[in-house]
Amino acid sequence: MPVTTINGHVLWQRRTAAEQWAAWAGWLALAVLFVFCWQVMNKNTMWVFVEDAPRQAADLFARAWPPRWSYLDRLWGPLWDTINIATLGTMLGIVLATPVAFLAARNTTPSAAFIRPAALLVIVASRSINSLIWALLLVAIIGPGLLAGIIAIALRSIGFIGKLLYEAIEEIDETQVEAVSATGASNWQVMDYAVVPQILPAFAGISVFRWDINIRESTILGLVGAGGIGVQLQSSLARLAWAEVTVIFIVILVTVFVSEWVSAKVRAAII
């Protein structure tokens, strides 16, 4: 405790002298690290290219502008695919993640010793792999197309939804659970009357939030052949058709904007 007595006065400080020196040492280490990183960055940069950058950027923008609006006609189909990948992938993810979350939550798992670690492993495995990499693997396994995209989105969503949902289950008010079990209700009835009502707002919020993220993620899945607007993006990039790339970017921007608006509205309505 940083309380000291000097000349009969009791003094209080936030930190002891040793803790204060440790804090200063921490800041110093951070400054040293910053200088070191700056040097590494400079060593690997070719400054001729950087000096050239404004001219290159201006050149790129000149070729990308104006957008080739006629290309829009060929984007509606892929855009519809993209939204379907996100929506169906999220739904499949929810269906798979919900039981995993109940198995992973400390207060609802049937076995804390065996089943809970297995469920946590599923969640970590799903979260540790980016959906683009899931899509890469699935295109190799089941071939290119929408199905690979949908399953990639679902597999990545299991971890996200499972983790947030099991944390919500662990945070419920146990006295409500006690009260319902004290009436003589069976385990499934306790689940239905005491657990589910408490996690329902979190469940809906998490699902809509993940759908919103999945709209964004599904726009790039086409880069590896898993369907959606990303396929068009890749072909335009390969042909250096910058005016088409601009149109695709604008379409993605508007879609993401709309999905964020929808998700915010839905979450506000639930909570």
Binding site: A182, T183, G184, S186
Partner: protein, 273 residues
């Protein structure tokens, strides 16, 4: 008829919350359970319906030993014991009606309860109870929309919806203001007398206990140190339950008759520093 025989609870930490507690509750009797915090009031009440698993001893409700029952038998036994909680313990996001009907969960199948298809007589009973506790207007509101006193009334209706043979009541007034506390206590005790329903009510407010119950059990450190009518609760017994204090106000029911031990300022303030 409830009989508790040398009920003992030792927690995993080694704390002995209950130590050989024995008593009987005849039909229709309302028993008040008093004692300082940590004296085992809640553990005793929860030990009876096994929300807390007793370490040893027996609990006999109409001659069946509750401590020996398996899972599904315990569920059936719990239907006969209504419980009312300190913080109401309503399911906040369900409606008042759903909360009251949850008292019937032990009697209906999972599928009926999932689709909220309760038998009409259960619904009739729920309406009658809501009328009895004065909440007919609130039937369709969410529990979270009610005030503290209204929530506790829902808690009472839920317990009575079970058609219980015994009421277990854990600090029903701890979160309520004095006026609402008295109304809630009056409601619980009236209902018990109407239906000849025995009840065990833990209370931290001795005055409230004296006002409403037929019999008082005093717990200290997990053991019964007093068991008798409220009128017998005098200075020496309160001192035995809670320790030395100025008990004049409580056992004289407010009348001036000061013969309590004179305490110095330091002694009276001891608990505050």
């Amino acid at each position: 008829m409830l009989r508790v025989e040398s009920l003992t609870k030792t927690y995993a930490t080694g704390d002995k919350a209950l130590n050989g507690v024995s008593f009987d509750v005849p039909p229709g009797e309302v028993v008040g359970l008093i004692g300082p915090s940590g004296s085992g009031k809640s553990t005793l009440i929860r030990g009876i319906n096994r929300l807390v698993e007793p370490s040893s001893g027996r609990v006999l409700l109409n001659d069946s030993d509750i401590t020996r029952l398996g899972r599904s038998e315990l569920q059936r036994a719990r239907r006969r014991m209504g419980m009312i909680f300190q913080e109401y313990a309503l399911v906040e996001r369900l409606t008042v009606m759903e909360n009251v009907l949850s008292g019937r969960l032990g009697y209906v199948s999972f599928w009926r309860s999932l689709f909220r298809r309760f038998p009409q007589r259960d619904v009739d009973k729920a309406f009658a109870l809501l009328a009895r506790v004065g909440l007919t207007e609130q039937t369709d509101k969410r529990a979270s929309a009610l005030s503290g006193g209204q929530r506790q009334r829902v808690g009472i209706a839920r317990a009575l919806e079970q058609d219980p043979e015994l009421l277990l009541v854990d600090e029903p007034t701890a979160s309520l203001d004095p006026k609402t506390a008295r109304q809630i206590m009056r409601l619980i005790c009236e209902v018990c007398r109407e239906q000849a329903l025995p009840a065990i009510i833990s209370l931290h407010d001795v005055l409230l206990a004296k006002m409403f119950v037929d019999r008082i059990i005093g717990l200290r450190a997990g053991e019964i140190v007093f068991d008798g009518p409220p009128a017998k609760l005098d200075t020496s017994i309160l001192t035995e339950i809670y320790g030395e204090e100025d008990w004049t106000e409580i056992h004289d029911d407010g009348h001036e008759e000061a013969h309590a031990p004179e305490l110095s300022h330091e002694e009276r303030m001891a608990g505050l520093t």
